[in-house]
Symmetry: C2
Subunit: 363 residues, 2 copies
Amino acid sequence: MADAKLPLSPGATLGILGGGQLGRMLALAAARLGFDVVILDPEEHSPAGRVAARQIVAPYDDRWALKRLAEACDVVTYEFENVPEAAVAELTALGVGVAPGAKALAAAQDRVAEKSFLAEIGVPTVAFAAVEDDASLAAAVAKIGAPSLLKTRREGYDGKGQAWLQRPADAAAAFDRIGRQPAILEAPADFVRELSVIAARGRDGEIVCYPLSENHHEGGVLRRTSAPAQVSAAIRDHAESIAAKILTALDYVGVIGVELFELAGGKLVVNEFAPRVHNTGHWTQDGCEVDQFEQHVRAVAGWPLGPTAARAHVEMTNLLGPEVETWAKLAAEPESRLHLYGKGEARPGRKMGHVNRLRPLKD
Amino acid sequence: MADAKLPLSPGATLGILGGGQLGRMLALAAARLGFDVVILDPEEHSPAGRVAARQIVAPYDDRWALKRLAEACDVVTYEFENVPEAAVAELTALGVGVAPGAKALAAAQDRVAEKSFLAEIGVPTVAFAAVEDDASLAAAVAKIGAPSLLKTRREGYDGKGQAWLQRPADAAAAFDRIGRQPAILEAPADFVRELSVIAARGRDGEIVCYPLSENHHEGGVLRRTSAPAQVSAAIRDHAESIAAKILTALDYVGVIGVELFELAGGKLVVNEFAPRVHNTGHWTQDGCEVDQFEQHVRAVAGWPLGPTAARAHVEMTNLLGPEVETWAKLAAEPESRLHLYGKGEARPGRKMGHVNRLRPLKD
């Protein structure tokens, strides 16, 4: 569906559903290219709203707010995958395009839909089975075995809504622990490391990939990303072909983050993908020619994609909760670039900012 | 005078007098470090106001607006040197610190004061004489000769408020042309090229300099900057010592732009300085470790200064007036990084944006 407003001229207005740190960094990138930004977020004075031309404070499914957003914006994107599908449908009905689009959102909101989609397009994942009730739980355990990981189909992130089954007998308790919500049982990946590929697809179907990054999670939350990751050409090519398959099958527009497990022996399986800019792509801000935030804005605006080559080696570390209070020490490190999100309360585990530590590419 | 609020913690609020493109790029840099920004500018929806947490729309000398700004902000800076001195005095009286400070502003607002200050601290300039009336005009022409350049003492920028004397007999007509305002008559600099040094001084007196840039003006307006400029170590050292002298003598805090003429034979004279981030420093955004905007925010906030080393060779070109309409072509150039200011009307000569074209340092 061609949109007569595309490519967006500088001076046009980009709407963002969600006003967190990803929206904030998208808004800063959009401003650099001359766009105005309007944020829709239920929280007043959101991190992104404070750097945008305007924030509409309302729930995502507030029809009046969506109407105002549609009137104000030339195109709309989202900063997180749990935006209600109905909001995207409403905006589309109101005549404003939403990218990456409803198809990507639907696939990313439901872990069973996501893995089924990946299986359909021939992208390897861990073995999985859907769980709805005691009967399907029993069938899933029979199929997947244990140890295995039970996750809610929807809404969980950063390790929330998950329970391990060490033995088949743990199944009922695990199901209780996640509130007996519709779930997915996944085989554990016997991985040697976690990688991710940040990729982008333009309105014209052009696809670009950033160098792979190697990621370290703690307690289900990203702790550290190191990039470009040292990988063989075969792994790089496989990761890029996986990203391209996903982007093409979803008729995607924008940046995507695809989390991969590298198995012993060099095989890759997809853990999950996020239809948005991604925490494991923050290193691109100081490490790449054009970063993931500008890249996403370019794609959504119908601009040509920018170059993704690395300019430096980066170790990105998330600043969680009170860790942000180390800012003075970090600010004094010549190799460190600070990115802070302007969040008020440094609750334990809350993503308050990140630091990119640079070193030259060749060492 | 120690300010108990310094260094500013992330979450603190930075006020900026002036909402143009320099304020906009300062605001974006401040946001990256987790600060909130409040803009004071008489123009509604100013370029900087549209990326700030808040804009106060009022004249710079509006006492009620200054009071609101002082209440909202932990520290205040300015994006241009023609902010009324009285506004800075008022803010200081209201208990909020203003950097770079009143002394730098006073010196930069009056071309005679500026050159007299430079002469006092032993920094070379072209020969000059103050002009107030016909008698001092005659004395100035007798001292400086012709050709020479008559400029208003105050307010002129980008080539406005200037008139050339080709011969001594042109003096009266030139004085008429600039409205018989208090003026300065300057000897022309027989320069081989125009250089500038962007430097910064922290709250603790630390001084850093960026690599020199070579600048090309057309019709009094900056057209192009190329950096790092190829200069001898002697010229670099001299430029850095000039910047350091100025910064120290003004007890300066923040980024300064010092425009230099390189004379045949390698001598440097100062053309002028601007007590703010500077158009000839825009190349640092994509060319240096920490750019001039973040550097200024760091200095004003009492943070340690960041590294200034070049990461790439940059040619910065201003996009004046309708030239901004070439954005689509520029966006498709892999070596180009666009910075657009979100200004509505592309009047001829108006600075609408700039493009930084990168190439590797070693070629």
